[in-house]
Symmetry: C4
Subunit: 300 residues, 4 copies
Amino acid sequence: MNDVAADKSKGRPKLGPGPAGWQRKWYEVIFEHDTPAGRWFDVWLLVVIVVSVVAVMLESIRYKDAPEAWYDTWRAVEWIITGLFTLEFAARLACVNRPGRYVFSFFGVVDLVSLLPSYLMILIPGAQSLATIRTVRLLRVFRILKLAHHVREGQGWLLALKHTWPKITVFISVIVCTIIILGSVMYLVETDADSGFDNIPVSVYWAIVTMTTVGYGDIAPVTPLGKTIASLVMLLGYAIIIVPTGLFSAEVMKQRALRGTERSCPRCAFNTADDGAQYCSRCGERLGALQPTGTPQADA
Amino acid sequence: MNDVAADKSKGRPKLGPGPAGWQRKWYEVIFEHDTPAGRWFDVWLLVVIVVSVVAVMLESIRYKDAPEAWYDTWRAVEWIITGLFTLEFAARLACVNRPGRYVFSFFGVVDLVSLLPSYLMILIPGAQSLATIRTVRLLRVFRILKLAHHVREGQGWLLALKHTWPKITVFISVIVCTIIILGSVMYLVETDADSGFDNIPVSVYWAIVTMTTVGYGDIAPVTPLGKTIASLVMLLGYAIIIVPTGLFSAEVMKQRALRGTERSCPRCAFNTADDGAQYCSRCGERLGALQPTGTPQADA
Amino acid sequence: MNDVAADKSKGRPKLGPGPAGWQRKWYEVIFEHDTPAGRWFDVWLLVVIVVSVVAVMLESIRYKDAPEAWYDTWRAVEWIITGLFTLEFAARLACVNRPGRYVFSFFGVVDLVSLLPSYLMILIPGAQSLATIRTVRLLRVFRILKLAHHVREGQGWLLALKHTWPKITVFISVIVCTIIILGSVMYLVETDADSGFDNIPVSVYWAIVTMTTVGYGDIAPVTPLGKTIASLVMLLGYAIIIVPTGLFSAEVMKQRALRGTERSCPRCAFNTADDGAQYCSRCGERLGALQPTGTPQADA
Amino acid sequence: MNDVAADKSKGRPKLGPGPAGWQRKWYEVIFEHDTPAGRWFDVWLLVVIVVSVVAVMLESIRYKDAPEAWYDTWRAVEWIITGLFTLEFAARLACVNRPGRYVFSFFGVVDLVSLLPSYLMILIPGAQSLATIRTVRLLRVFRILKLAHHVREGQGWLLALKHTWPKITVFISVIVCTIIILGSVMYLVETDADSGFDNIPVSVYWAIVTMTTVGYGDIAPVTPLGKTIASLVMLLGYAIIIVPTGLFSAEVMKQRALRGTERSCPRCAFNTADDGAQYCSRCGERLGALQPTGTPQADA
């Protein structure tokens, strides 16, 4: 299956190759991943993406006091890559049956955003800051990863995450409220100690830094009461991590458990979870074939 | 079901609407969440709460050197919101059948505490610090969340948490004792190194900061022995997180297992969670086929 | 069962009450926890322990520049508590059948160590530092906790921990070696940057601080290469926490699974895990009574 | 089984003892672990390794301003150990049937690398830095650990890790991209605030320090927007740890379930993990009673 189609798998008509033969061929190479040519294309695309991001990162290193040489090197690399991406973008537009839809598909936008900064930086002089935006090119990696074997596996935990999400949402909303209230309390307690708790937003920032056990130390309580409350915040933050972990572990287990339980014994109605079972393990009756995988349950 | 009733669900008579028709109507809108009007009310209440808390937070930003304009803006917002909350509070009192019980219900108190500071700040001059207390308004969010679909789901992990609690309590008491003893040891070791371990409480604070892996760095051991002990404390803190996580994960699994694929015995109505059961384990009656997965019970 | 006996539960003869009637009565009150008097004694003992530890902690606060008043207060409290503990210790010695064995039992030693510092501080002048040791009194709390309902539950995770231990040991030994090697590498890389990596032990200390995600920041890499390696150390430390967590969660689940599986159906040999089952859920045969709980498996 | 063979267990012919009788005897002692002599050898090897690594670490402590005495002590220890390792290496070469293959086996290389630095430090004057490399000797510990009982247990989680790996890989690649993009954003936001975000690589380093909740504090955002984004990074880092944990826990559970209480079919020898199975799910044969729990398989 091609990845753009995956994007569209919400009942809308698929994005496919154009009518002409060369379009179908190009489409296969550029959008699909099943043919050797397609895979070869993906590998090289991946290489170029990584190189381009590394270039962006290195270019930034001496951004302020750049010896021209260093600077120009990465500029050159940048322009070669931009050229390649432009050609690729054109090719994608050329071989697809609905260019408009492609441009406005998720990956279409990403492709465009990967190109624009380089061009804008010529047109608009002071647009150096745009250089950084080019790291969004990394998102293009996912188009390639998408087809890799392990993503199909990955869908299991994505599903589990989806199922756990509502619970985790409640959980997070509780945390957020707790953080804000605790931050306000610390603001009350520490505001006179001049220890960095200058206002509620900053105190909330401190509460997040502490609860997530990051603990920069740029803001830290100095009053005994402040330290006592901080201790509670830490223990709280240390403790609550277990709740979503437990929920998610259990969810993954459930996904696993659901996998394959679609087969009931025609005689004793016992549901087996064993993919390879050929006879009911309860009454010895012969079982039907396993349902086609790819059903939501079987993705776990 | 209305949320105040949920609060009261300990055998005590419910808090319901008053006798008059307008009371019943208002009650439906203000306290219940099933009607479109009720949901509409909830959404707007949520908006106002969030706005009010944001106002409190922003107001605090230049608390010390506030340009009047900025200050007055938030003051105005504050008074509008206080007005709205006052009207709401009055309406709740008016339409409920037991105003007294409502006022002393959890959410009644929260509603009151959300109002008082603003009024007290006029009466008592130097009560600026009360401004912060208004963030408790966030608690009112939970009344609205309460009805959301995912809270019903959430009760699964609440139950799991309740079941794990005793074990986690023992666990925590062990940790607390360990922390205090380790803190004292570090005080003994580092007290002469002038590295911030000035007294046992501070050392205990350090132990908590370290064990929870927050690690501000405002207090850090400098002596070789101190660093060695600190390393043990860190590894300990890093290791022990696994115990409550394991307990809780297992508990969630158990909750799931108990509610996963239940079937009732046609004779004694005993619910079994055993997929393979063919006879009721209570009365020996033969059981029917397994229910289709995806029943509300399976969502727990 | 009395707690000292629990200590001795390695085939050795129990520590019991003396022959005289008053000894048996005292023993019941002091060592056992089943009688109202025994529980009353435990509660008060707990209170005294907590008070004594708080006293030790507060006494330390102005250790250096103590206003006599503050200092004397805690001294007084200290002496009252020491008196009480001395009486208790004498009473334990008096009513037990093997005083020698009690003194050398774990809790006997703890009791003694709780007393000695106070007395030594008179005999030896400069023994102030001993004051801190008194926090070991907290260990006495466990004697009392021991009988609490939730400890019996707790034994489940202790068992799970015991079962996971060998695996976690291998795991830890791998981590330790990794930490030492990584620490040495960082020493090599950062030694010239004067960023605190002065020798291998300190670098290993840094590696521990980083891997456990504590991150004080007192030692931090400054060279690009150092920062790169540090990033790997962090990601490693962040990742490996999942291994023991997974092992332990699974172990707890197993303990849970083992619970109650002692009953086999006399006809079809199906093992049920349902404590309340009265009929085999496979063949409908009547089942025997559940085995007495308190067997190692049932403690999970 | 001998460990080198374990290395070679990829279809290639085993590394075994030489033909002569003394070779077979030596081989048993040096390479195998089943005989008392072999175990005795392992224990002493372990002791020497630990001593040597401790020596390397202590030697580094006063590396810069070393009093000759201290320095010479560790030098002496070092040379004794190097001598022992040289003899051991010679012995291993002598008694093995394929010396070449041994030298290039994983542990052969480790053995060699453990020796070379000491010798190179005489030949090359300024090769002091090589001293640190000697800590790789720790890797030799694993050869000994390899045979320990608990490693065989350990293989359970290794298997689980292997199974979870693909999913965790996708997961990590997503994290890496997120970290790079977030780092770039922070560079954009904080670059003018002179708060340490000097270039993208450094910002990415910060993102890793923050996401893994290490939080040194050497680089921390100062702008309100920077702090807001940082908060999201922290919460994200705090949240995502649950995904691999859940995956791995579930995987360990699965491993356990698959190997937990297996019974073989008397006809087709298929192992079932289903406690309730009464008929083989492969050939329909009737199965015997459940095996007693606590079989080696159940320890996995």
